[in-house]
């Protein structure tokens, strides 16, 4: 279970959210909100990449930032794939080394998302959709217990979109907690979402009906 207590976060003087309280069980959770409402920042704080000024985050009673917590987290944080001056294969190998994932496991996802012919290409020359697929491959292949996805379906072609939805459903069935941040409505996708949260300006979190 993901437990967030009194969470406050700001960039300098700009307060994004304050005193957020949230408890999420494993399953598929959809976080929507307008551009700039703080969805991406919330995901980054949950992934331990940004430090909240106040509050606590625990997943399965493990504190954010601890080795045990970080081993359970996977994030696809950005619209474009990172480390653009590397090849696709280089990036897959890097993640395999750091996260201790077998290369064949990464390659399975890469193949399914049609990245195999692009292995020797530089990340910088990939199209936006291809970069998104790469970013998703890196996040999904680790099979994390807490999977954080920021706008995962942007720029994906129909086949890849279907594959991603299937994988997310599978992750849910295997007991993972998947949090998807998107400005789109969950009804647009073939996903059995358990909970729909809405982040409003000023950092107010509310539950929307599905």
């Amino acid at each position: 279970m993901l437990s967030i207590k009194d969470l406050s976060f700001s960039y300098g003087k700009q307060q994004l959210f304050s005193n957020v309280q949230l408890q999420l069980e494993p399953g598929l959770h959809w976080l929507s909100g307008a551009n700039g409402s703080g969805k991406s920042s919330l995901l980054r704080v949950l992934a331990g990449l940004d430090k909240a000024q106040q509050g606590s985050i625990e997943f399965n009673q493990l504190l954010v930032g601890s080795t045990a917590y970080q081993a359970l987290v996977g994030i696809s944080a950005d619209a474009v794939a990172p480390l653009q001056d590397n090849t696709v294969l280089g990036l897959l190998q890097l993640v395999a080394r750091c996260r201790g994932i077998a290369m064949h496991q990464l390659m399975l996802y890469a193949e399914a998302l049609a990245l195999e012919p692009l292995l020797q290409q530089q990340v910088a020359v990939l199209s936006l959709g291809q970069q998104k697929k790469l970013s998703l491959t890196l996040a999904l292949a680790a099979k994390p217990q807490l999977l954080l996805l920021d706008e995962p379906f942007n720029a994906l072609d129909p086949n890849s979109l279907r594959y991603c939805c299937t994988q997310l459903q599978k992750a849910k069935e295997e007991g993972a907690l998947v949090l998807i941040a998107s400005h789109l409505s969950p009804e647009s996708f073939a996903l059995a979402v358990d909970q729909h949260l809405e982040l409003k300006a000023g950092g107010h979190l509310s539950f929307s009906s599905l």
Partner: protein, 354 residues
Amino acid sequence: MGTYLLVRFELFWQQTCNAFEPLQKFSFLLLLVAGHALLGLLAPLVLLGFQLFNPELSTTERWPYLQMLLVILFCWQGGVAWQQKPMAQQYFVESLAPSARVAWLSNKLMATFNQLPFWFLTLPAAVYLLLSGKSMAYVDAIQLLLVLAVLCLGFKAHQTSWLALLAVFVLPAISFWSVPLLALMLLEKTLQQKLQGLQLSAGSLFRYWLYWFVRQQQNKAMLLLIIFVQALWYYWLEQQLKPEAVLFVNSAFSWSLALLCYAQQKLWQQHLLAQHYFWLSLCTRKQWVLLKLLNVLPVGLALGLGLSLFDAVAAVSAIALAVALSFWPKLRLLSVALCCFMLLLLLNGQGLWA
């Protein structure tokens, strides 16, 4: 943890190689020049070192050598900034860390690693000054350490102070030279904070270029290097050199300046290329040509520097070389020019420093 730290180091190394990529093409040439200079019995570089550490010199006499050291410091500060990744990429690298503590530790380690050459350059100088036994050398050493500490610890890597650089060259040789230097660095920091968010608008193409030039750390570092090379040759010329040596100094200066201008312009070309379609959709054909021609501005700067300190022939040859290199798309010209320069070295460069 070990794997992650190794990966961070590999990424750091890759970033460093990429950052200095425009200069890599000339590394062989630069190596030859440096090797030649070091092989001479009274090689200027060695001379610079001896003079800086010479306890017999007064502060005023040592000032030019301290200037050199300070410029190297600022150059390095600019170089460090080159290695900074965009925020999104930093997030990705940190997301691979086994824990938040390891991410923090590796960030600190990389920062320290960045600064090692910085300390390597300065600490021996400070130690020599301290051990020289002269009171003014003691003051110099303390001030050097103070500036170093402020640069390394007090400022983020993205600041390379233009004002401080200016101060290095315009300040008179006063005993407490670090005071105005530090004040100017603080002033720049304050100005930067005030101006944060108030970016210059790209109202004209020139202003866009200027904005790009000022904001890009590698431009600052490149300009610092140009000034550094210029100042270095200037002080070498003040030594009692044979006319042949002066010829060598001038030609080597021309080459260094031309190559730095060339690298500078390649950076601008890379920048334009990265936004090729954006500019093509935005500009008229005339404006696009103008944007490309903004390339020659660093050459203009080099011309000004060359003419102000060197004879017209050296300045003009430097500019001609820079322009030719900049606008010639193939590297063949560089190879021919390299051969000519090597010939010049062989004919005039041996045993000229006595």
